[in-house]
């Protein structure tokens, strides 16, 4: 089958992209102004201590060699020490990344489900009030940046109608479950603590929704439009003419070809959720890696910046590979591209 070849090609391409990204990140972090040793040890450090630091960290070696020392460390999971938290960057990442991933995964689930539901509804009841409502909601959702939505939701659920907790990952008084995956919801399930699970789940809802809304609205429109476009295709008339039930035609034979354009778009949106998360994380006091990345940028914490960028890049690439595989799975014309 061509499928394996396709996957291999995509993986090789991903490796090339990651190598390129690591070079760019490394070069930028090294040509930034300022003495690394001073930044690491503070302005009161003695000249001798700085000199030892430079030698220990290979700062006198050629750039190319420095890159290999750095990338070698990265491949072993050693991103260096954060100058702002004074801990290995890897430890910080391990602490903050799962929080953001949990948020982004939840946002992605909301995005996929709601955009399909809204898109299908709008297409099924096109040119009726349902379609009009979905259209107006989509325009609002696309036009409003996520931080505005986030602030409004925070105000609404935190002040006006307090049915869902909105700040942090867990309510006060509850202890975080033992870390296995770093996802509070999953860890709570593993620990068998239903109360913590529901609490963590509820905490996820509002921030994830705020994060997902922009992409969700856009994809709902795309799905609606391609559903309507495909609705008048002969292959659906044919299925109808052979007595296939209307509901099955809609759910299966109309939806599948209509998802293809939306899925590529969803991929890009979900991948960029990582980067967009920092505003939402800041507003909802979510201890995630986006917020960590932002504060390390403000504090010129080079090792942390490099690690965060590299991880974001890696996630972006992985999400895109997954999306490409889904699209290839949906569309035989891509999967069999070379066959004809």
């Amino acid at each position: 089958m061509n499928f394996k070849k396709y996957l291999l090609k995509r993986l090789l391409l991903a490796v090339v992209v990651m190598i390129g990204l690591s070079i760019v990140i490394f070069v930028i972090s090294r040509i930034m102004p300022g003495d690394v040793a001073t930044m690491a040890l503070g302005s009161t450090a003695t000249e001798e201590a700085k000199e030892n630091y430079r030698i220990a960290n290979h700062l006198y070696d050629p750039m190319l060699l420095q890159y290999f020392y750095w990338i070698g460390g990265v491949l072993r999971g050693d991103f260096g020490t954060s100058t702002s938290t004074d801990r290995p960057v890897a430890m910080d990442v391990a602490e903050f990344l799962p929080a953001t991933l949990e948020l982004v995964v939840m946002a992605a689930i909301i995005l996929v489900i709601l955009s399909i539901v809204l898109g299908v509804l709008a297409a099924k009841y096109r040119n009726t009030i349902v379609d009009a409502i979905v259209r107006v909601l989509s325009y609002i959702g696309v036009a409003m940046p996520s931080f505005v939505i986030a602030t409004l939701l925070l105000l609404f659920f935190g002040h006006v109608w307090k049915i869902i907790p909105v700040l942090g990952r867990l309510s006060y008084g509850l202890t975080a479950p033992a870390t296995v995956t770093g996802f509070y919801t999953i860890d709570a399930l593993i620990a068998g603590d239903i109360k913590v699970f529901f609490n963590a789940f509820l905490h996820l809802l509002v921030p994830a929704f705020a994060l997902a809304l922009g992409g969700l609205c856009q994809e709902a429109r795309i799905i609606r439009n391609s559903m309507v476009e495909n609705g008048s295709k002969d292959y659906l008339s044919a299925m109808r003419g052979y007595g296939v039930p209307e509901g099955k035609i809609l759910r299966k034979y109309q939806l599948k070809p209509s998802l293809i354009p939306a899925v590529s778009c969803m991929g890009m949106d979900i991948a960029s959720l990582m980067g967009n998360a920092f505003l939402v994380e800041t507003i909802f006091n979510w201890p995630g890696i986006s917020r960590y990345g932002l504060s390390s940028m403000l504090g010129k914490d080079l090792n942390a910046i490099a690690a965060v960028l590299l991880i974001f890049g890696l996630i972006f690439v992985i999400v895109n590979i997954i999306v490409d595989l889904i699209v290839a799975g949906l569309d035989p014309r891509i999967r069999l591209g070379g066959a004809k």
């Binding site: 609705g231 002969d234 659906l236 044919a238 109808r240 003419g241 052979y242 035989p332 004809k340």
Partner: protein, 329 residues
């Protein structure tokens, strides 16, 4: 049992308007077509004259909510398909009538395999309903074999993109003949194909219709194809049937000026090129002519033609024509 004279399908004065931005596009303007059991009926006419719309309205598969039918009835075995509820219509669709679509690449869903689509059709057909999956698969494979495609097991797992145009058209035919039906509608089954394949497809279709004693409605804009494959011909112009007659009779004598124009537009093997044609084009369906729809292009048009719509009347020998001025020929 089969009585040649029992009508299986009667379309009576069917009017159909599409909703468009500016109002109604009055496409069908009183179509009258009768199909008898086991009869092969051709519908001939230029592009855009409502042939496909007419046959799609039989099964009720025009895009929902985008059209209205102000008048007319479609009697299938005596019952009006336009008045049927979805369950009754479902019965007609799953057991009585099957249709082959004009464009084979558009009639097959690009993201499902041939097998998946045909299995779905089999599952929803009267004959496939009680059967097991394996039996249905056998039905599908037999149908593919019936249209002369070698190696049906391989084709079963193919996607439409992997097939050529002729193969796709044959798959569409296979889908239509997979189960025993009483009426088959073939909407220009050869148009998308080159002539040699077209001929094969027509012959396959003709053989299967004969073998299974089905009635056939064949839409075509080729008079040659109609002459070869049909028992009677309906000539459509701008949403009405202007002339209807047994095939031999129609080729012997044409009465309606439009039919005469059509015949004259056919190039002759004997040479001399196309002798004449029909000037102008079909009318704007948003603002159709008040009287006879052919009047603006007709060499014989009179005051009467511009004011009144001629009825389709029998002039003997089963020859029907809708024209006020046939005597003057």
């Amino acid at each position: 049992m089969s009585n040649e004279k029992t009508p299986i399908l009667e379309i009576k004065n069917l009017k159909l308007w599409f909703k468009v931005y500016k109002g109604y596009s009055k496409v069908l303007d009183g179509v009258n077509i009768t199909v008898h059991q086991g009869e092969k009926v051709g519908i001939v006419g230029e592009a855009g004259c409502g042939k496909t719309t007419t046959v799609k309205s039989i099964l009720g598969i025009l895009p929902e909510g985008q059209y209205v039918i102000p008048e007319g009835e479609i009697l299938y075995k005596g019952e009006d398909t336009l008045k049927m509820n979805s369950r009754q219509l479902g019965k007609v669709r799953s057991g009585e009538i099957s249709m082959i679509y004009q464009e084979p690449s558009a009639a097959l869903n690009p993201v499902f395999t041939i097998g998946q689509q045909m299995m779905e059709v089999a599952k929803n057909s009267d004959q496939g309903k009680g059967k097991t999956k394996a039996e249905r698969r056998e039905m599908v494979l037999n149908a593919i074999r019936d249209v002369f495609i070698p190696d049906p097991e391989r084709i079963f797992d193919y996607y439409p993109v992997q097939l050529s145009g002729g193969m796709k058209q044959r798959i569409c035919i296979a889908m239509a003949i997979m189960t025993q039906r009483d009426l088959m509608i073939a909407d220009e089954p050869g148009t998308a194909l080159d002539v040699t394949i077209q001929d094969q497809v027509h012959k396959t279709l003709d053989r299967l219709v004969e073998e299974r004693d089905m009635a056939l409605i064949m839409i075509t804009h080729s008079l040659g194809v109609a002459r070869e494959l049909t028992d009677s011909i309906n000539v459509m112009y701008a949403g009405t049937v202007v002339e209807a007659a047994p095939t031999a009779e129609l080729f012997r004598k044409q009465l309606h000026p439009y039919t005469i124009g059509l015949m004259e537009a056919v190039p002759r093997l004997a040479g001399g090129g196309i002798q004449a044609g029909i000037y102008g084009s079909i009318p704007d369906y948003l603002y159709p002519p008040k009287g006879c729809r052919f009047a603006p292009r007709c060499p014989r048009a009179t005051e009467q033609c511009l004011e009144n719509k001629p009825e389709l009347v029998d002039v003997g020998n089963g020859h029907k024509v809708a024209c006020f001025n046939i005597e003057e020929v």
